[in-house]
């Protein structure tokens, strides 16, 4: 991150490192130098939905993974489900199981990247350490075993996809009705061979973050801690379910507002409003209206709304997590890291269970179907939160309208609030140390936003932080990328 004080006496931080897309944070100071306002801007253009119009709907599970190289599976899964709604079919048992397995693999690889390589340098090397080494390379020098384990955990997640579909990213194997090819016995055994190491690495990460919590209680509990609503999908018993759950909304006190809502009815509960300073829209829970209806999605939201986990090791950690809020939702943004690791652990455990299912290598992987309806909605929990694909077609099956509601977009209001809260805590006046601004960036990293997805745009994620004085003059600029 580069930092500069402009001639006109203003502050700018750019670009937000270690997240994706193109973004800028502005921090507005009052006359006394205290933070008055802060905003997370996204400056990319959203055009992918328009590009898809006119294509045959069954192309979408192979086109939409191109939106993002980190969560292509979620796009492919949600897309395949939307196509199945249009066709009026369900996937076969094995096809569904294999898709669930690929999806869990993506949760593992995405969460491993977020925690071990993007966020842990702050914990291990220190928030105020030299930014030139406060990254994965610095982590490799300080804790080479952890860095290597993080890479291998990510590799395991990717290998699940590769061994089923033949590709690590931009998979072609997820299709309406299931998957294109069965899992071989050789590949099943190879994937099972990873489970012990993946479990151990995830537990190491959990130990690391819990020790950090213990040693930095005040910081962790005060870091962007504010109440919001939460949205996530859950199973029939309220259990954590990222592949095929129903929507559950929870309020800031833990009251369940909506439960077991079919994702196809998402527009009855979620509305979006455009704002003039960002390409990201502001989604909100419709019954509560704009602002009061802001909600969060992603790991923290999913564990807040869930009643239990499905696997024993993750359930043990889940109970520990729930104890933090004493039965109420946990609002501290820093807890995204812990919940991400609990999800990773659950994904590894569930992957093992699936790999031991006797029907996982069955050749019955796909249901056939054809165009039957002119509208379909598919949903899944992407690593960053709830994802919706909504397609409308003409009578020939050509797409006439595409709406993609992305996790990062849904977290947009909360990311802005998080930036404001952390800026208020750590930024005082225009002469701000790099470490303070790193904390502001870290508030964004907690959400691990994918701006490629949310704006559907290309980007190498340059980031800009501007601090403006009470007269609107930029007094300080930090730039990365």
């Amino acid at each position: 991150m580069d930092s500069q004080i402009n001639k006109d006496n203003t502050i700018l931080i750019s670009p937000v490192t270690r997240i994706e897309g193109h973004a800028k944070i502005t921090i507005d100071l009052g006359p006394d130098g205290s933070v008055k306002d802060a905003r997370f801007h996204v400056n990319e253009f959203r055009g992918f939905e328009k590009f898809c119009e006119g294509r045959y709907f069954t192309e979408m599970p192979t086109i939409t993974p191109r939106i993002c190289g980190i969560c292509p599976v979620s796009h492919s899964v949600s897309s395949a489900k939307a196509c199945e709604a249009i066709m009026g079919i369900k996937p076969t048992y094995t096809g569904d199981l294999l898709r669930r397995l690929i999806h869990l693999g993506q949760v593992i690889s995405s969460h491993a990247l977020s925690f071990f390589h993007l966020s842990s340098p702050d914990f291990i090397l220190g928030w105020d350490s030299d930014p030139a080494v406060r990254n994965i390379v610095g982590l490799a020098q300080q804790s080479p075993d952890l860095a290597l384990r993080g890479i291998r955990l990510r590799k395991f997640g990717q290998e699940i996809s590769e061994r089923i579909t033949g590709k690590k990213i931009h998979i072609m194997g997820i299709v309406p009705g299931g998957v294109g090819a069965p899992l071989s016995e050789e590949n099943r055994k190879a994937l099972l061979g990873w489970i012990a190491e993946a479990t151990q690495t995830t537990l190491m990460g959990i130990d690391l973050i819990k020790k950090y919590h213990d040693q930095n209680k005040d910081m962790v509990n005060s870091f962007a801690n504010f109440p919001t609503l939460y949205l996530g999908t859950v199973g029939p018993q309220g259990e954590w379910e990222v592949y095929d759950g129903k929507l559950r909304f929870m309020d800031a006190d833990g009251k369940i507002l909506e439960d077991q809502i079919d994702p196809k009815n998402y527009l009855d509960y979620i509305a979006e409003r455009a704002i003039d300073w960002s390409y990201l829209k502001y989604p909100y829970y419709k019954p509560y209206g704009f602002e009061k209806g802001f909600y969060r999605v992603g790991p923290l939201a999913r564990l807040n709304v869930s009643s239990k986990m499905k696997t024993p090791k993750a359930q043990k950690e889940f109970l520990n997590f729930k104890s933090i809020g004493a039965g109420k939702p946990v609002h501290g943004t820093f807890y995204f890291h812990y919940t991400r690791l609990i999800e990773c652990l659950s994904a590894v455990e569930e992957a093992e269970r699936i790999l031991k299912d006797p029907k996982i290598t069955s050749g019955d992987t796909q249901t056939a179907g054809k165009h039957n309806y002119n509208e379909g909605i598919g949903s899944s929990e992407a690593p960053r939160g709830t994802l919706f694909h909504h397609y409308k077609t003409d009578d020939s099956g050509r797409l006439t309208n595409v709406n993609l509601l992305i996790a990062t977009g849904q977290n947009n209001p909360a990311m802005n609030r998080s930036v404001l809260e952390v800026a208020k805590q750590y930024v005082h006046g225009k002469n701000v140390k790099e470490g303070a601004l790193n904390r502001v960036e870290a508030a964004i990293r907690c959400y691990d936003p994918c701006l490629s997805c949310s704006t559907h745009a290309i980007g190498s994620m340059p980031m800009l932080i501007e601090i403006k004085d009470h007269l609107g003059r930029t007094v300080h600029v930090l730039k990365r990328g």
């Binding site: 490192t17 190289g69 990247l113 994965i136 860095a147 890479i151 291998r152 590799k155």
Partner: protein, 157 residues
């Protein structure tokens, strides 16, 4: 680096980019052209973006060549990638080539031989067409890469 003696060349060419982002697809296009030439000992892959775990695979090769689109710089740039001591940008969606060389040394204690071939793109909008100007430059890039590989396998590099 040279490859002498009886051992066959073991070279990986990776085309990086998103073919649905117009000129961003030039990396995979170049990789495809290299594959068509059928050079002995040359393996070709295409990816939308570099991933950390790709490093383990890269380390199995004597030489890795990345082909990618750039948003600035000369129309065609072909250069070795060296270790970098300054601040390295990395995000969940963007890794620099220098980061791979640094990580190879830091995590695997190995020397990654890496070259980067960049072709400057003109349009990165949503779409599946590479612009004509960039396609012409891509042809030059293919010749550069193929020439480098030929020289390397003859021990001239």
């Amino acid at each position: 680096m040279s490859l002498k003696g009886d051992r066959p060349a073991n070279i990986l060419v990776v085309g990086i980019g998103n073919p649905l982002r117009c000129d961003d697809g030039v990396g995979p296009y170049i990789a495809g052209c290299i594959e068509t030439r059928g050079l002995s000992g040359v393996h070709v892959r295409t990816v939308q973006q570099l991933l950390l775990e790709d490093l383990e695979e890269m380390l199995q090769y004597d030489q890795v060549i990345l082909a990618d689109a750039s948003v600035s710089g000369p129309p065609v740039d072909f250069r070795p990638v060296e270790k970098f001591s300054g601040q390295l940008l990395s995000s969940s969606h963007h890794l620099s080539a220098e980061l791979f060389v640094n990580l190879a040394a830091g995590v695997y204690h190995k020397d990654l031989k890496l070259h980067l071939c960049c072709v400057k793109g003109l349009s990165f909008e949503v779409g599946d067409k590479i612009s004509d100007f960039v396609l012409q430059r891509a042809g030059e890039a293919v010749d550069l890469i193929a020439g480098f590989i030929n020289n390397m396998t003859k021990g001239k590099v």
